[in-house]
C-alpha cells in the first residue's frame, strides 16, 4: 500500500515537472547579437538530402545548396570573417533543435507552412519547390491521384506526409527516418512511390536508375530559412542577405552549381534577379 502511494505521488511529481519543461522557455535573448559577439552563426542543415545537404564521405561535412546558402548568408550578415557552424538535422529534429536554441537558424529544405509559422518565423522563400513523386519506371502511377489505395513512402517530420492525406486520402503512408532509408525502402518495394519535394527527388533519381520523377508538382513548397519566434532582427538580416545574394548573382551561381547538371530539371527557371 505504502509502495503504491510512493509510486503514484512520484509519477505525478515527475509528470508535472516534465510537462512544465515542455513549455518553451522563450528566452528573449537576441540570437543575432550573440552571433555577432561570437562571430558565429549556428545552422541546422540536412545530412541526408542530395543537392541540398548531404554528408560527404570524404570529410564528414554536409554539402549542398542549403549549406552553401548558409555559408553565404553568414558572410553577408557577419562579414567576410564570420563563421558558419553546421549541425546536421533531420526533418524530425530540426524544429525541436531550433526551438531549444541548439541552432540559430535552420536551412534544411523546410517549406513555409501556416502550421509551422505558428511556432517559428520564416525568412522570405529562397527556393521554390513543389511536391512530386518518385516511382519505378514501370509504375502505373501517373499522378498524385493514382496514389489512392497505394502505399506511399515519406519522411518523418516532412510536410509532404501531411499533403498526401489531402490529395490522396486513401493512400497509406509510411514514414521513415530519412531519405537514405526512404529510397532504399522504395527499392525494396515497401511502397509504390516516394513523395517529397521535386528538388530532393531529382537528386535521388540521379543515383537510382530505373526510377523517375513523375506527376509534376502538385503543391507549392516555398523553402524558407526558419528562425525562432521573436528574433525579428535575425529574420530581417537573413532576408536582406538573400536579397543581396540575388542582386549580386551569387544566388544564380549557386543554383547553377547544384542544379546545373540535374537531368530533367530546368535550372534556369530557378534563376532570380
Amino acid at each position: 500500500m505504502k509502495k503504491k502511494f510512493w509510486l503514484v505521488s512520484f509519477l505525478t511529481i515527475i509528470l508535472v515537472v516534465l510537462s512544465g519543461c515542455g513549455k518553451q522557455n522563450s528566452s528573449q535573448q537576441s540570437v543575432l547579437k550573440n552571433a555577432r559577439a561570437s562571430n558565429t552563426l549556428t545552422w541546422g542543415v540536412k545530412g541526408d538530402t542530395k543537392l541540398f545537404g548531404l554528408i560527404d564521405v570524404a570529410d564528414g561535412q554536409s554539402k549542398g545548396f542549403d549549406v552553401d546558402m548558409a555559408k553565404h548568408i553568414t558572410k553577408h550578415i557577419l562579414g567576410p570573417k564570420g563563421k558558419a557552424k553546421m549541425v546536421t538535422v533531420t526533418s524530425q529534429s530540426r524544429t525541436p533543435l531550433l526551438k531549444n536554441g541548439n541552432v540559430d537558424a535552420v536551412i534544411a529544405t523546410m517549406s513555409i507552412t501556416p502550421e509551422r509559422e505558428k511556432i517559428l518565423d520564416f525568412s522570405h522563400s529562397y527556393f521554390d519547390a513543389g511536391q512530386s513523386l518518385l516511382v519505378p519506371k514501370s509504375s502505373t502511377i501517373r499522378s498524385a491521384k493514382d496514389l489512392n489505395g497505394k502505399t506511399v513512402i515519406g519522411v518523418v517530420g516532412s510536410n509532404s506526409v501531411n499533403n498526401i492525406h489531402k490529395v490522396a486520402p486513401h493512400a497509406k503512408v509510411v514514414e521513415l527516418q530519412d531519405y537514405a532509408q526512404a529510397v532504399n525502402a522504395l527499392k525494396s518495394k515497401q511502397g509504390d512511390a516516394l513523395t517529397t519535394d521535386n528538388g530532393i527527388l531529382y537528386g535521388l533519381a540521379v543515383e537510382n536508375h530505373g526510377f523517375e520523377v513523375r506527376g509534376g508538382t502538385f503543391t507549392k513548397e516555398p523553402y524558407g530559412v526558419a528562425v525562432n519566434k521573436g528574433q525579428d532582427d535575425l529574420t530581417k538580416a537573413i532576408n536582406q542577405a538573400i536579397l543581396e545574394m540575388q542582386h549580386s548573382g551569387e544566388y544564380n551561381h549557386l543554383i547553377k552549381k547544384w542544379f546545373g547538371d540535374v537531368p530533367g530539371f530546368d535550372y534556369k527557371e530557378l534563376y532570380r534577379k
Binding site: 519543461c21 541526408d48 564521405v57 533543435l97 530519412d178 537514405a180 532504399n184 537510382n208
Partner: protein, 217 residues
C-alpha cells in the same frame, strides 16, 4: 561484384571506421561512467537508507523500464529546457550513461542480494561495521558473481549505441547509412560490414569477459 568492390573503397571503409571510433568512444565513456554510477545506486538501494534508497530505487526502476530511444530523445530534445545544450555525441553519452546506470544498478542490487544474507550478519557479529562488512566481505563476492551479467550488459550497450543514429550521432550505424544513402547499391555490402564489425567488437568483449570470469571464479 563491382558494387562490392566500389562499396568497400578506401574512402567508404575509412568513413565506416571513423564511425566505429565514435561508437567505441561513446561506449567506453558510458561503460566507465555507468559502472561507477550504477554501482553507487545499486549499493544505496541495497543499504535501505530511509527514503533515499526508496526514492533513488524508484527512479532507477523508471528508467530501466523505458526504451533507450526515449531516453535519447529526452536527453537531446529535453535537456536544453534546463539551459544545457549537449551536442549529439555528448547527448548520446549522457543518455547511454543514464540508461545503463539504471541497468547496472539492478545487476548490483540483485548480485548483492544473491550473496548469502547470513554473511552480513556474521560479519556484523564479529564487530565489523555495515560498511566494513559490505566492502570487505559482501562486495568482493557479489562482484565476482556479477561478471557475466555485467559483461552482457556492456555488450548490449555497444550494440545500443546504434540507436543514436536517430539524432544523427556520427557513429558507425549513421555512417553506414550515409554511405548507402549516396548509392543504394551499397546497402548489402554496408550491412555485411556493419554485422561483421559489431560482431568483432562485441564478441571480443564477451570473450574477455568469459576469461576474467573463469580466472576469478
Amino acid at each position: 561484384m563491382q558494387n562490392w568492390i566500389n562499396a568497400y573503397s578506401w574512402l567508404n571503409i575509412r568513413f565506416l571506421l571513423l564511425g566505429l571510433g565514435v561508437t567505441i568512444f561513446i561506449s567506453v565513456v558510458a561503460v566507465v561512467l555507468s559502472f561507477i554510477l550504477g554501482s553507487i545506486l545499486g549499493i544505496i538501494r541495497y543499504s535501505k537508507i530511509k527514503y533515499v534508497s526508496a526514492i533513488l530505487g524508484f527512479f532507477v526502476d523508471l528508467i530501466r523500464n523505458l526504451p533507450l530511444l526515449l531516453i535519447i530523445f529526452f536527453t537531446y530534445f529535453g535537456l536544453p529546457n534546463f539551459g544545457f545544450k549537449p551536442d549529439t555525441i555528448l547527448a548520446a553519452i549522457i543518455a547511454m550513461t543514464v540508461f545503463e546506470s539504471a541497468m547496472v544498478a539492478e545487476i548490483v542490487r540483485s548480485g548483492i542480494n544473491a550473496v548469502d544474507i547470513g554473511q552480513m550478519e556474521g560479519a556484523r557479529s564479529v564487530g565489523m561495521s555495515f560498511l566494513q562488512a559490505l566492502w570487505h566481505i559482501i562486495l568482493p563476492q557479489a562482484y565476482k558473481k556479477m561478471i557475466p551479467a555485467m559483461i552482457s550488459q556492456f555488450v548490449s550497450l555497444i550494440k545500443d549505441t546504434s540507436l543514436a543514429t536517430i539524432i544523427v550521432v556520427p557513429e558507425m550505424m549513421q555512417h553506414a547509412q550515409v554511405i548507402y544513402g549516396q548509392n543504394a547499391n551499397y546497402i548489402l555490402p554496408m550491412f555485411v560490414a556493419l554485422a561483421v564489425l559489431y560482431f568483432i567488437v562485441c564478441f571480443t568483449l564477451s570473450l574477455i569477459g568469459n576469461h576474467i570470469d573463469k580466472r576469478l571464479a
